[in-house]
């Protein structure tokens, strides 16, 4: 069964009296444990699509099912709960909470979203800190670590709730190439270890090469799909 099934999804934005179509009749399917990338130039609709998959927004038309749930039918509260259980996010700007330490940032979703008991939280956070190589930095605050380290913390935070899906919008855009590769490798390693589906958007061709399935977007339309092996199919 597909983790994500999109059928003719459409997303329009109204700007004044003008209606802008950000996505038009986009259809695809993504299997569990895939490592997928959406590529395309700026304004092609990558972020809009990721926002729809991430239940941050609703499609204007078509059907989008994520982990069996029809995204359009969920209300605000249900979408928050759905995201907290099923989806992890990695942001371009890392978006760590500045007043929390590395450890506390990773712990945050377990504590504030899922109310996981303390012992279980400690076990999961420590395991992920070791997995992303940040155990020795756990008591530092975000402004005391590098961009690459921040993104590793963000990966750990996204994984800590054992979500079915992790969405990363331009996760390497603010990193140098070497660090960017390391982050993508880390994401792949985490996919292998936790069997979590990773979907990321990028316009960096070198990073695109790391994805197992690549969807090409242009002007809001899906222009092609490239399967490099190892992942699911759509």
């Amino acid at each position: 069964m597909s983790l994500i099934k999109a059928e003719n999804i459409k997303k329009d934005y109204q700007v004044g009296e003008l209606i802008i179509t950000a996505l038009d009749r986009v259809s695809f399917e993504i299997e569990p444990a895939s490592f997928v990338s959406f590529v395309g130039p700026s304004g092609s609709g990558k972020t809009t699509l990721l926002n729809l998959i991430g239940c941050l927004d609703k499609p204007t038309g078509g059907t989008l099912k994520v982990a069996g749930a029809d995204v359009a039918s969920l209300d605000r509260r249900e979408r928050a709960a759905f995201r907290g259980t099923n989806i992890g996010f990695i942001f371009q700007d890392f978006n760590l909470i500045p007043v929390l330490t590395v450890y506390e940032n990773i712990e945050y979703p377990l504590l504030m979203v899922q109310s996981v008991p303390a012992a279980e939280r400690k076990k999961r956070v420590t395991a992920l800190l070791e997995a992303v190589g940040m155990i020795d930095q756990k008591d530092k605050y975000p402004d005391q670590i590098s961009g690459g380290q921040k993104q590793r913390v963000a990966v750990a935070r996204a994984l800590v709730t054992n979500p079915k899906l992790i969405l990363a919008d331009e996760p390497t855009a603010n990193l140098d190439h070497k660090t960017a590769y390391m982050v993508i490798e880390l994401m792949k390693k985490m996919r292998d270890e936790f069997k979590t589906t990773f979907i990321f958007s990028t316009h960096d061709q070198k990073i695109v090469g790391e994805a197992e399935i690549v969807y090409m977007l242009e002007d809001g339309e899906l222009k092609g799909k490239e399967v490099k092996g190892g992942g699911g199919n759509g």
Binding site: N51, G54, L56, D57, R76, R77, A80, A81, F82, R83, G84, T85, I87, G88, F89, F91, D93, N95, I97, P98, V99, L100, Y108, P109, L111, M112, V113, Q114, R157, A158, T161
Partner: protein, 412 residues
């Protein structure tokens, strides 16, 4: 909940200068209110104490209708001995009543044999009156501090005006309830300062002298004044008395007695109400300060952290929890400000007590201001600050909780 507090406090510490400034504003407001309440409360208590303990007593019982015509001191509305005995029986059974004093009050003329002036006389029992109004004898500024048969205590200004001094003989003339006039020669036993100010014309004589002047066959009483063990129970005791005396009805089935607290007998009650009203407006000012400053800080906090709100909302934090985060931040800021305000406020009150500032009230001079504040007042003011801060945080917090994560994440 503990984690919400941890995040709130760390967010407050993130903008230390702003937090300290806002907390200082709340604290200054609180200090102002606490010191104001302590000073005015002290003044009010001294004023009330001065009036009740030197003249009125805490509660008085009269015959129904007496107070309505109290300016005329109507002798026809005096209490008969049987009625007085009934009241005394009741009062003796009430542990909240520390002392009581029956009085005969009447209007008369005061003559020094060359001049005559009106006077209002209080016939009192020498042993009962000082227990009921303990400051009475302290008001005697010349002569023996006592009430003796055959003597009269007269107000200071009357003594000056009539050019009489302690030891002089004077005559008191009064009309009794039958309309006949009688007089009695008395010796000036003491000169007293007025409890109410320059206009006071109350003189004191022995109750038996009063009965003799009024040619009473039996002791008829104008009023019974009471001193309570606890002034705070004023209205409780008043209600108990009303209940205890409610069964005493006349032939028409109407109550024989009326009970009045000092509040209904003294115009100074309105002054005390004005002090209360001023304290209320000062509290309103505090509320405004807290509301505006906390709201301002929280609006700024929400605006500055839009992307953070977007992040925590995106990763699944429920709107209610986001709302709680900001409300707790406002709450913590108010508690911080309130603690500082309480600390400094109490310190200032303590210093004022040590400094012993003096002031004058009515005819009293050199009164020492001893500001004090009840724990309940401190708690009330602190609670007001915290509640107002929470209310002030609600709007920005609500805005944060309703933010669409997608829009918040796009915010630059």
């Amino acid at each position: 909940m503990g984690n919400l507090f941890k995040i709130a406090i760390r967010n407050l510490m993130r903008y230390k200068r702003r937090t300290i400034l806002t907390a200082s504003l709340v604290a200054i407001g609180m200090i102002f209110v606490l010191v104001f309440i302590a000073i005015t409360g002290s003044f009010k208590n001294m004023m009330i104490g001065g009036i009740t303990d030197s003249m009125l007593g805490h509660i008085q019982i009269h015959k129904k209708g007496y107070v309505a015509s109290i300016d005329n001191s109507p002798l026809t509305l005096n209490l008969k001995p049987q009625a007085v005995a009934k009241i005394e029986q009741i009062l003796q059974r009430m542990p909240d009543i520390k002392a009581y004093s029956p009085r005969i009050k009447f209007a008369g003329m005061f003559s020094n044999f060359t001049e005559t002036t009106p006077i209002r006389l209080n016939g009192v029992y020498p042993e009962k009156e000082p227990k009921t109004v303990p400051l009475l004898l302290a008001r005697i500024i010349e002569g023996e501090k006592r009430i003796t048969k055959g003597e009269i205590l007269i107000p200071e200004l009357l003594a000056k005006g009539m050019k009489v001094k302690v030891g002089d003989s004077i005559v008191v003339i009064a009309t009794n309830k039958d309309g006949s006039v009688n007089g009695k020669q008395l010796r000036v036993g003491g000169i007293m300062e007025s409890a109410t100010g320059p206009g006071g014309r109350d003189g004191y004589i022995h109750i038996e002298d009063a009965a003799e002047i009024l040619r009473m066959d039996q002791m008829e009483i104008s009023e019974i004044a009471m001193q309570l063990t606890d002034f705070g129970k004023l209205h409780t005791v008043e209600n108990r008395l009303i209940h205890a005396l409610s069964g005493q009805l006349n032939n028409q089935g109407k109550p024989i007695f009326e009970i009045h607290t000092w509040e209904k007998l003294s115009p100074f009650y309105h002054l005390s109400r004005m002090i209360d009203a001023m304290a209320f407006f000062v509290k309103l000012m505090l509320i405004s300060i807290v509301l505006v400053s906390i709201m301002n800080v929280m609006v700024m906090a929400v605006y500055e952290r839009i992307r953070e709100i977007g992040t925590i909302a995106a990763i699944g934090t429920r709107p209610g929890k986001i709302l709680s985060m900001f409300v707790i931040e406002g709450f913590s800021l108010a508690v911080f400000g309130a603690l500082i305000g309480n600390g400094f406020g109490l310190a200032i009150i303590y210093i004022l007590r040590q400094v012993k500032i003096t002031f004058s009230f009515a005819m009293h001079t050199g009164l020492v201001l001893m500001p004090s504040i009840r724990v309940s007042e401190i708690l009330t003011v602190s609670l007001i600050v915290v509640i107002v801060a929470v209310l002030g945080s609600l709007q920005p917090a609500f805005k944060a909780s309703r933010m669409e994560p997608i829009k918040a994440l796009r915010h630059v």
